[in-house]
C-alpha cells in the first residue's frame, strides 16, 4: 500500500480525492492537512510515500511546501494537485521540485496513475505540461536570439513542424484552424528569415528545439 499525504484546504474536495485514491485499492491516505504548515509537519513526522498537495492553501501555499520538502525530505515525491490549469503554476511547481502535476478537474481520471508513476520514481506530466516545460526551457536558453521574438504559439507551431507534424495534426493538437497554422508557419519563416520546412527543421535541431 502506498502511503499518501493529502493536503487541501477544501474538505469536500479532499473527501472526493481521498475516495478516488482509496478506491484504487493500492494506496491509502495516511495523513490529511487543511493547510501548508500541517502538511509540512505531517510530511516530516509520518512515514509517507507520496505527498499530494494543493497549491492554493491558506498560510504556507503549496509551492512553498514543495520547496521546503525538497529541502527537508528530498526523497519524498510530491504531486501537485490544483484548480489552476495555467502553465505558469505547472512550471513553478516543477521548478520547486514537484514530480507531477494534476488538475483537480482531471483528478478522477489521472490522480491514481500519477501517484503510481511518481511513486515509481518517474515524473508525471501530461503532454501539454511537457510541452510547456520544453518551450520554457527553449526560451530560457535562447534569449537574445531570433527565437526570443517568437510568440509562444509560434514556438509551438515551429516545434511541431520541426518534429514532422502536418498542419492538420497541429491544428487538431491546439484546436485551431488549419489556415491559422499556416499563418503561424508563415510568420515563423519570416521572423527567422527561413524559406521552407526543411530549413525550419534544421534551425530547430541546431537550436535544440527538438530532441533528435
Amino acid at each position: 500500500m502506498i502511503k499518501i499525504l493529502l493536503a487541501d484546504d477544501h474538505s469536500i474536495v479532499r473527501e472526493g480525492l481521498k475516495k478516488i485514491i482509496e478506491e484504487s485499492g493500492e494506496m491509502e491516505v495516511v495523513a490529511e492537512a487543511p493547510d501548508g504548515e500541517t502538511a509540512f509537519d505531517h510530511a516530516r513526522g509520518k512515514k509517507i510515500d507520496v505527498a499530494v498537495i494543493d497549491i492554493s492553501m491558506p498560510g504556507m501555499d503549496g509551492l512553498e511546501v514543495v520547496a521546503r520538502l525538497k529541502n527537508e525530505c528530498p526523497d519524498l515525491p510530491v504531486l501537485i494537485l490544483t484548480m489552476h490549469d495555467e502553465e505558469q503554476y505547472l512550471v513553478r511547481a516543477i521548478e520547486a521540485g514537484a514530480m507531477g502535476y494534476v488538475t483537480k478537474q482531471s483528478a478522477p481520471e489521472q490522480l491514481v496513475d500519477a501517484i503510481k508513476k511518481i511513486h515509481s520514481g518517474s515524473r508525471y506530466l501530461t503532454e501539454k505540461a511537457s510541452e510547456a516545460l520544453a518551450l520554457r526551457v527553449i526560451r530560457g536558453s535562447n534569449s537574445q536570439t531570433p527565437i526570443e521574438s517568437l510568440s509562444m504559439r509560434e514556438l509551438q507551431v515551429l516545434r511541431l513542424l520541426a518534429l514532422g507534424h502536418t498542419n492538420h495534426e497541429i491544428a487538431e493538437t491546439y484546436n485551431i484552424g488549419i489556415k491559422t497554422v499556416d499563418t503561424y508557419r508563415f510568420r515563423v519563416l519570416k521572423k527567422l528569415n527561413l524559406r521552407n520546412n526543411a530549413e525550419m527543421s534544421r534551425f530547430a535541431i541546431q537550436n535544440k528545439l527538438v530532441e533528435v
Binding site: I12, V13, H84, Q88, M152, R153
Partner: protein
C-alpha cells in the same frame, strides 16, 4: 580808435629806440674814429716834421764845404774874369753834384759875383741880396738858414748861407749861398696827406702847403702893423696876404669861415724858430670817412629792420583790429545774452530767485512774484528766509545755507514758502552757486518747483498703494487658500480615485476568489462524484451512465466558465506568482484567442508592490485589448525592462495606428484610463502613433529598488 593810437605810438617808440640804438652805436663808433684820427694826425705830423726838418737842414754842411774852396775866396779877394770863371765852374760843379736849384756867391756888399744860374733869364748875377737876413747873419760870421720867396726868381726857396773867410780865418770876405726849391716838399712830403698841411712862419704866413690856394695866405687874422712888417722884410714878396678865415674857437676847435670844425695839430721846427708845421683835418672829412662805410653796412640793416618793424606793426595792427572787432562783437553778444538772460530769467514761468552771500534776495522772476503775491520792490533786499515757514527757515539757516556756500550746489531741498495771503506753498528748491574770480560763491541761482499738488497726489497715491497692497495681500492669501483647497480636493479626488480603483480591484479579487475557491472547488468535488457515479453506472445502467457523463461534461463547461470569469475579474496568478507570470499568462491567453502573434519580453524585473503590479497589469491588458480590437496588427510586442531607477513598460503593435492628437480616439481607446493608472502609480504614460505605422504605448514609472 584808442588802441590804434597806442599801437602807433608803440611802433614809433620801437622805431625810435632802434634809431637811438643805431645812433648811439654810430656816435660811439664816430668818437672812436675821431680819437683814432687825432692820433693818426699827430703821428703823421711828427713823421712829416722830422722829414721836413731833415730836408730843411740838408745843405747846411754842403754850404760850409763850399766856403772852404779857395777859388771862392780868390774870386772874392781878387775878382777878375779868370777867378770869377773858376768860381763859376766850382759853383756849377757843386750845383750839379748836389742837385741844387742855384748856388751863388755874394761879396761883402751883398752883390752876386758868381752864380750857377748866371746864364738863366732870371740870373742872380749882379743882384744885391744884402737885405736878406741870411746875408747879414753870414756876414756876422754865422751859418744861416732862411725861407723866403725869391725876389728875382719869384720862387720859394730854402736859403743856406755861410761866410767865406780869408786865409787867416778872421775876416769875412763874402757869403756863399745855396738855394733849394721847396716844390719838392709839396710834391712829395705833403702831397700824400689828407686834410690840410701847412708850414707857416711866426706871423702865420703860409709858406708851404699841400693846398696851392693857401700859399702866402695868413693863417690867423693879424693887424695891419704886422702886415707892414711882413712887407718890409720882403721875405714873402709883395703880398697881399689874405686871411684864410681860420680862427680858434673857445672850445679849442679850429673853425673856418663857413664854421666848419677842424682838428688842429702843430709842431715847432728846429733851426727855424717860430715856424710851425700845422696839420688841419676837417671834422666833415673824418665824419665822411666814418659814415660812408657805416652807412654802407648799417644802412641796409636799418632799412631791413625798419621794414620788418613796419611789417610787424602792420600784422600786429591787423591782429589788433581783428581782436577789437571780435571783442566788440563778443561784447555785443554778451550784452544781448545778458539782456536775453534777464528776459529769460524774468519771463520763464518758474519760480527763480537769486540771493547774495548775506541770504538777501537780489533778483526774482516774474513767476516768483506772481506765485507769492508780492510786488518786486517788497522782495528785493529782503532775506529769503523771511518768506519761509518756521521749520524751513531753521533748516535753511542751520543746514542748507552753510552747505550751499561751501559746495555751491544743492538739489531738491524741500521748503515751505508763505505767500502774501499767508498760504503755505510746498516747493523743491535746486540751487546753483555763481562764483567770483576767487572761486567763492557770491550769489545763487535757485529754482523752486511748486510741489504742493504733487505732494498731495503723492500722498494719495501712497495711501492708494498701501490699500492696494493690502488688497493684494488679502487676494494672495485667498488665492493660496483656494489653491490649497483645490489641491486638497484634487488630492482627495486622486485618493478617491485610487481608493475606488483599489476597492474595485479588491472586489474583483474577492469575487474571483469566491468563484474560484468556492464555486470551483464545489464543482470539482461535484465532478469527482459524477465521474464516480458514471463509472459505477457504466456496468449497471448504460443510459444512466451516459446521463452522468453529460453531467460531467456540463460540470466541466461550468468549471471552465467559472475559471474564465474569475480570470477576467482578477487572475490568481497575479497574486500568487507575480506580474511576469501574470503577463505571460495573459499574453499567451490573448494569442490563443486571437491568432495574433503576441510576444512578451522581460529582463531583470525586481519585485514590485501590489499596487504597481496591478496598475501595470491593467495598463497592459487595456493596451493589448485595444491593439487586438482596433489595430488589425499581426504582431503585438509587450516589453518590460529597467532603465536605471525606472521601470519601462512598452506595448507595440504593427497595426494601422491613429492620430494621437484626436482626443475622441484617445478617449475611445481608453488611453485616459491608462494614463490615470500610470499617474496614480507615480509614473507617466505616453502614446506614440502614426497612421499605418503602428502604435506604441510607453509607460515609465520610478520605483524604489
Amino acid at each position: 580808435m584808442k588802441l590804434r593810437i597806442i599801437i602807433f605810438v608803440l611802433a614809433l617808440l620801437a622805431f625810435l629806440s632802434a634809431s637811438t640804438g643805431g645812433w648811439l652805436y654810430y656816435y660811439s663808433f664816430k668818437t672812436a674814429a675821431f680819437q683814432k684820427a687825432e692820433t693818426n694826425t699827430r703821428s703823421r705830423l711828427e713823421l712829416i716834421q722830422r722829414q721836413l726838418s731833415t730836408y730843411l737842414s740838408e745843405h747846411i754842411k754842403s754850404i760850409k764845404a763850399l766856403t772852404n774852396i779857395k777859388e771862392c775866396r780868390i774870386a772874392l779877394t781878387n775878382p777878375n774874369l779868370n777867378s770869377i770863371k773858376d768860381a763859376n765852374n766850382i759853383l756849377d760843379n757843386f750845383n750839379n753834384a748836389l742837385d741844387i736849384e742855384v748856388t751863388y756867391l755874394l761879396d761883402k756888399e751883398g752883390n752876386t759875383i758868381a752864380s750857377s744860374n748866371r746864364n738863366a733869364p732870371d740870373s742872380f748875377m749882379d743882384k744885391n741880396f744884402s737885405f736878406r737876413p741870411y746875408f747879414k747873419k753870414a756876414m756876422a760870421g754865422n751859418s744861416a738858414t732862411y725861407l723866403a720867396l725869391g725876389t728875382t726868381s719869384k720862387k720859394r726857396g730854402v736859403y743856406y748861407s755861410y761866410p767865406i773867410f780869408d786865409k787867416t780865418k778872421t775876416k769875412v770876405l763874402g757869403v756863399a749861398v745855396i738855394k733849394t726849391s721847396v716844390e719838392f716838399v709839396e710834391s712829395s712830403l705833403f702831397s700824400k696827406s689828407e686834410g690840410i698841411l701847412l708850414f707857416s712862419d711866426p706871423n702865420g704866413i703860409i709858406f708851404i702847403s699841400n693846398k696851392e690856394e693857401l700859399r702866402f695866405m695868413l693863417l690867423w687874422n693879424v693887424d695891419e702893423k704886422e702886415i707892414t712888417q711882413i712887407r718890409e722884410s720882403r721875405q714873402f714878396g709883395n703880398g697881399p696876404w689874405i686871411w684864410t678865415g681860420f680862427s680858434k674857437s673857445d672850445t679849442g676847435y679850429i673853425t673856418d669861415r663857413s664854421g666848419e670844425n677842424y682838428f688842429f695839430s702843430s709842431m715847432d721846427m728846429a733851426n727855424y724858430p717860430g715856424w710851425e708845421i700845422i696839420y688841419l683835418r676837417s671834422h666833415k672829412d673824418i665824419d665822411k670817412l666814418v659814415a660812408d662805410p657805416f652807412i654802407k653796412v648799417v644802412g641796409p640793416i636799418v632799412v631791413i629792420i625798419s621794414i620788418l618793424i613796419g611789417i610787424a606793426v602792420f600784422i600786429l595792427y591787423s591782429k589788433a583790429v581783428g581782436e577789437i572787432t571780435r571783442r566788440k562783437s563778443a561784447e555785443k553778444e554778451l550784452r544781448l545774452s545778458e539782456e536775453r538772460y534777464k528776459h529769460i530769467y524774468n519771463k520763464t514761468p518758474v519760480m527763480l530767485h537769486s540771493i547774495d552771500t548775506e541770504g538777501r534776495i537780489i533778483r526774482v522772476s516774474d513767476h516768483w512774484i506772481e506765485k507769492m503775491g508780492y510786488e518786486r520792490e517788497d522782495v528785493i533786499g529782503k532775506e529769503l528766509t523771511s518768506f519761509y515757514n518756521k521749520n524751513s527757515k531753521k533748516y535753511a539757516e542751520e543746514v542748507i545755507f552753510p552747505e550751499f556756500f561751501a559746495t555751491g550746489f544743492c538739489q531738491d531741498i524741500p521748503y515751505t514758502y508763505i505767500n502774501k495771503d499767508n498760504e503755505e506753498i510746498e516747493i523743491l528748491l535746486s540751487c546753483y552757486g555763481v562764483r567770483n574770480e576767487l572761486g567763492e560763491v557770491e550769489r545763487s541761482l535757485a529754482v523752486s518747483v511748486d510741489v504742493t499738488e504733487k505732494n498731495k497726489t503723492q500722498m494719495a497715491l501712497e495711501e492708494a498703494k498701501i490699500e492696494i497692497s493690502r488688497y493684494s495681500i488679502d487676494l494672495e492669501k485667498q488665492v493660496a487658500k483656494r489653491t490649497k483647497e483645490l489641491q486638497k480636493a484634487k488630492d482627495n479626488l486622486k485618493r478617491l480615485s485610487e481608493n475606488i480603483m483599489a476597492s474595485q480591484e479588491r472586489e474583483k479579487a474577492a469575487v474571483a476568489r469566491e468563484l474560484h475557491d468556492h464555486l470551483g472547488q464545489v464543482l470539482t468535488a461535484l465532478r469527482i462524484d459524477t465521474v464516480w457515479i458514471k463509472k459505477f453506472l457504466s456496468d449497471v445502467d448504460n443510459n444512466a451512465s451516459t446521463r452522468a457523463e453529460k453531467m460531467c461534461s456540463l460540470i466541466d463547461n461550468t468549471i471552465e466558465d467559472v475559471r474564465d470569469m474569475a480570470y477576467r475579474l482578477r487572475p490568481r496568478v497575479l497574486d500568487d506568482l507575480g506580474l511576469i507570470d501574470a503577463l505571460e499568462s495573459m499574453i499567451s491567453d490573448f494569442e490563443k484567442r486571437s491568432n495574433v502573434s503576441c510576444v512578451f519580453k522581460h529582463i531583470n524585473i525586481p519585485p514590485i508592490t501590489e499596487t504597481l503590479t496591478t496598475a501595470l497589469y491593467r495598463i497592459t491588458q487595456e493596451a493589448v485589448t485595444n491593439a487586438l480590437r482596433h489595430s488589425s496588427a499581426s504582431t503585438i510586442e509587450v516589453g518590460l525592462k529597467m532603465e536605471g531607477k525606472f521601470l519601462i513598460l512598452t506595448i507595440k503593435d504593427n497595426g494601422c495606428g491613429f492620430l494621437v492628437m484626436d482626443e475622441n480616439e484617445m478617449m475611445h481607446f481608453g488611453l485616459e484610463g491608462m494614463k490615470e493608472r500610470a499617474d496614480l502609480a507615480g509614473g507617466t504614460l505616453e502614446t506614440f502613433s502614426t497612421p499605418d505605422k503602428g502604435t506604441e504605448v510607453y509607460c515609465k514609472i520610478k520605483i524604489d529598488i
